[in-house]
Point group: C5
Chain length 95, copies 5
C-alpha cells in the first residue's frame, strides 16, 4: 500500500453504472517522512476518509477487495485511515 | 484511477475478435492541476467519452470490470467522465 | 494499452510447456507522435503481427484474455494491429 | 519480488474490517547491493518480520496469496525473510 | 515479459509455507541490446535457469501461471530461457 493525503474530491455523473454512490477522492502520495511526492491518484473511498487525512491506498485488483468496491472498475481504494507510523522507533506521524 | 484528457482515437481492423465494436481512445494523462503530464495511454471507452473531455481511466484487471470490457484483453478503460474536481476546497476543474 | 512497434523476435526452447507455439515479439514503445520512447517489452503475439508494424500491447492479467494466451505466464500481448490514429482531428499515423 | 528492509510500522484503527489483526510494516526497498533506493511501500506482514530485517515483498494480486492476506485489500505482502543472497558467487548479504 | 540475466540466488528459510522448494533467483534486467539497465527483480524459477543465463521474466498475476508458482505469493517468474533474439533482422544475442 502507499501512504497518501486526501486533498480533494472528484465528481462524475456520467460513469459506469456500478460506480454510483462511490466517493472518489484525490489523494497525493507522501513519502515515509510524510512529505508530498508530487504523485497523485484518484481513489475510491471505502472507509469514510475526510480532507487532509493521511490514508493508505491499495492499488490494482486488490482495490476491489472491499465491500464498497467489489466487482467495480476501480484500481485504487482508500482502505485505511492512518493513526500513526514510526521509523526506527521514532514516531514520524501521529494524527 | 488517473485523470486524463481524450485527445484522439485509434483504429484497428486486425485484432483479437473480442475487441470488435470497442472504441479505443488516446488519452493524455493530466496532473491534479489539469496540466498534461506527457504520458498517454490507449483506453477502451465504456462511457461514450468525446474529444477533449476530462475522464478517469482505470488500469489493470479493473479495466475489465465494465459491461463493455468484460473478459477482453483491455488493460485501461475510461469508466467515468469528470464533471469537476477540487483541491483544498478550491475548484480546479469544472466542465 | 500502449502503442508499440514490432522490432524483432525472441526465440526460446527451454520454457514453461504452455508457452509452446506462442510467438514472442520484441516491441519498442512509441509515444503519441509515433516516436520510439526507448522502452521495450517482449509480448506474445495474438494477431499475427509482422516486423515494423505498429501494434497495441495489453499488459498484466489482461494479456491472458486472448485465445492464444489464456492461462499462460504471459504479461504482455499484442492484441491489435494499428491502422491509424489521430490527435485533435489530425492523422498522426496511417498504415 | 523486491528486496526491502523493515524500517517501521503503520497503525490504523479505522479501516476495512478485513484488515483487522493484520500487521502493517513500512519497508524501504534496497538494491541488489543492499543499499536503500529511496522507495518505500507499506506491506502486510505474513511471516512475522521484525525491525531492520531484510525481506521479500510480493506486490499486486500475488500479495493476496498468503493465509494472512487472502481476499483482503492488500497490494504488498512480506512473504519471506531473507537469510542471504549472492551475486556472481559472492555473498552480498548474510543475516 | 522482460529480458533479464540471472546474476544470483536468494535464500530464505522463514517464509510463507507455499514457497517451500521454490528457487528464487536475482535477475538484472537488460535492454534490447542486452545491456544491463540497473533494475533488478527477485523471480521464482520455473524452468531451471542457471547463473548468467538470459531469461524472460513474467510479472504480476501472470507469474502464478506456471506449475511451480500456482497460487503462491510470487509476482515474478522466470518462464523461459532465451536462445536468441534479433532486431530488424540482425541477431542481437545468441546463446
Amino acid at each position: 500500500m502507499n501512504l497518501g493525503k486526501v486533498i480533494g474530491t472528484v465528481v462524475s455523473t456520467r460513469k459506469e453504472p456500478s460506480m454510483d454512490g462511490l466517493k472518489l477522492m484525490l489523494v497525493r502520495y507522501v513519502d515515509s517522512e510524510g512529505k508530498e511526492t508530487g504523485g497523485h491518484v484518484v481513489a475510491a473511498d471505502a472507509v469514510g476518509a475526510g480532507p487532509d487525512e493521511l490514508v493508505l491506498v491499495a492499488s490494482g485488483s486488490s482495490a476491489r477487495q472491499t465491500a464498497a468496491t467489489d466487482k467495480k472498475p476501480v484500481d485504487a481504494v482508500i482502505m485505511a485511515i492512518v493513526d500513526s507510523w514510526d521509523i526506527d522507533g521514532t514516531v514520524k506521524y501521529k494524527k
